[in-house]
Subunit: 230 residues, 2 copies
DNA sequence: CCGCTGTACTCGGTATCCCATATTATGCCT
DNA sequence: AGGCATAATATGGGATACCGAGTACAGCGG
């Protein structure tokens, strides 16, 4: 796995050694898991206890998450979990779409025969997750699918951006994949991307990738609409 | 200005109040200005003196710049100014191209008649900068051009990303705009973008915007090639 | 000439302190 | 009783001082 990552030029994250990286991961996870909900205040001194680290670390971590967009700091108050509105979510999906479509096209236009099989493997993981009802597995396999898409053509800058954006819409992703018929539609759309890549059809790969993200965005917007009606 | 910014949803940066924001701006500026060159170590305690702030601040700032990609921290050592290689630069130009082309298309497809004049104004600024030899003015006007492109269609997420990427290739930008004939080619390409927008031709706007970034990237790659020959 | 050792440097991390502000609780006066 | 002024609390912004560990380099000895 490591050698493979090195071969693709993709930065392999070595076992996070510094406390700060650990704390960063933990807090990010906690926010993603919903332990802290959007709008909740993130009190530095409380986090020190909960994370078991000093305020220095907590502050560095908060700053980092702030630049990731997961945390926002209001002037007179302090850091809170950044709320996500429909407009921002829409924009995030849009950028993701642009970048993932770009990557899909590049994959199609490269002549690396290992791409399609690797994507198929990830796709199989997604289908298996749906079949077994393991939604966590669906999410990680989906990430793997896109990771392959970017790393096979050595686009780690774009991949980093997509990753940054993805964490912000994490809970939306969890909901979109549970939507009615998404268990067949989603994989089908992704299979269409793989097909286009296999056919070396860059334009089609670009188009179907764009459509896939757009349909996920549509579902997300529907979720916002439903929520508002409450 | 504030009301306009609010209307466009574009984040207006209020006069940085916290010491941290000041220090962040100063250090970023220093790196961009070349006070610290790629590979230079950024010794925390030295920066404390030079910036006149405590280590707390310096560390938060370094963390922030790290997540911006301007600074990289090597495990056993410490923070250094992130070196920029041709591969990364290429990828940054590529992502910028994808996003700017997207914004150009959106501008063309919107029916906001204020877009083209605003872009023309920025373009005039660029031409004036070239005419007077004020390259700093060329750069800020170019940024203004793209800021308008994104803000007129309310894409501040994408704009933030483009901005983040742009600082990393700042010195390349300074060099590309000084390239032979870039003083006529560059503005001509940007005028083509405005023309396409005025004609409501989304596909053409997308294409010419892509081409403009690609030509800038080509020049940047040439700079890397020349540098290597030394 | 090469290898070892010790010292200086610096980072990651911690523990306190101080100050300003914002919120909340208290209490007094009308 | 109600409203306003005030005090107490909570918290963020910032500064210091300190410690342990790893790196780098200089000098010493073989």
């Amino acid at each position: 796995m490591d050698s493979k990552a090195a071969k693709t030029g993709m930065k392999v994250e070595r076992p996070a050694k510094t406390l700060r990286e650990l704390a960063l991961g933990n807090l990010r996870e906690a926010i993603l898991e919903g332990v802290f909900k959007p709008g909740d205040r993130l009190v530095e001194r409380d986090l020190c206890e909960q994370l078991g680290v000093s305020r220095t670390i907590v502050r560095e971590v908060l700053r980092h998450l702030e630049s990731e967009g997961l945390v926002s700091t209001q002037i007179g108050k302090g850091p809170i979990v950044a709320p996500l509105d429909a407009d921002i979510a829409q924009q995030i999906y849009e950028v993701r779409g642009a970048l993932e479509a770009m990557a899909a096209r590049l994959c199609a236009e490269s002549d690396d025969p290992t791409i399609a099989p690797a994507l198929d493997a990830a796709l199989a993981g997604i289908r298996k997750g749906y079949a077994t009802g393991d939604m966590g597995h669906v999410l990680t396999s989906t990430s793997e699918f896109y990771r392959v898409l970017f790393s096979k053509v050595n686009r780690h800058v774009a991949w980093d951006i997509v990753n940054m954006l993805t964490v912000r819409i994490n809970h939306l992703r969890s909901m979109t994949i549970k939507t009615d018929k998404r268990d067949v539609e989603g994989p089908a759309q992704m299979a269409a991307i793989v097909d286009a890549i296999r056919d070396r059809d860059g334009a089609r790969a670009y188009r179907v990738a764009t459509e896939h993200v757009a349909s996920a965005a549509d579902i997300a917007m529907q979720i916002f609409a439903d929520r508002e009606q409450t």
